[in-house]
Amino acid sequence: MTHQLDNLEAEIQRLLTENDRTAEQGITVQRRENAVVLGGEVESAQRRDEICRQITSRFPEIEITCDIGITRAQAPTEVEEIS
């Protein structure tokens, strides 16, 4: 494993935030052996797929499990009274 992978979670989180194609701050990265599990939610399937593409391109030796969801955008069915 390269020195770069010693800080893999930090490298991935900075990549996803600072890369113009992703700009995502809300993705969680869990490391398991030579694999990472990605979590969180994004606004579109294209954004989810781009996240996986960017990580694969930068860290081709890492196996990715993508549990990123697309945030639902349905209308609410309830109102909360504030008191």
């Binding site: 606004e43 639902r72 955008a73 209308a75 609410p76 009274e81 504030i82």
Partner: protein, 246 residues
Amino acid sequence: MIRVAAVGDVHVDADVVGRYRPALDRLPEVADALLIAGDLTRHGTVEEARSFAEEFGGLRVPVVVVLGNHDHQSDRQDEVAKVIEDAGIAVLEGTSTVLELHGHRLGVAGVKGFGGGFAGACASNFGEREMKNFVATTEEIADRLEAALRGVECDALVALTHYAPVPETLAGEPLEIYPFLGCYQLGRAIDAAPTMLALHGHAHHGSERGRTPGGVPVRNVAHPVIKQAYNVYQLLSQETGDLVSV
């Protein structure tokens, strides 16, 4: 009675246009206004602001927003705000607006806010110039929120920020990043006025509900937290209760 819809962190770009619209078309049936708690765009570009204005403009209710940190990413926040304002949406930054709704005056005061942390684990105005600048930014923004809140004459007062004013609504986020998610000074500003409700976003993995030390209800309306197009809050209600069917 006033009903306020709210969401934050919608991060609009061309790929999102149309996703919210079915729910937004229903919004005037369930709420009198829509408040959006920042991160309107992905990178703060003018093009993304146009996409945001297309998606959230032209509603039959007033829309009031603050910008978030993403909306500053391209250093074009003034142009972003202008595009949004040109679409008829109010953009608050240390300012306020009063909406006349069913004979009631809803006052909304807003700022983006900033980090700094919370009581017992916060940054101090001490040491390197960079650290003093950081804390000075936090305090200046919170002071502007306090002045805006105290300057509003209305029947129901709402504080709208992107960054969190209390730590309770950050529960679920790593403790280590709390100082980047909000600051206690915003909560202090909210408590300095007769605020009825405080809304914020920014913390995608946070929790929905909290209260300021002074007892003001706080709601984290970040889209990944509420998991629907918007929440609806009822103010100036004559009855008590919790959840009411729309």
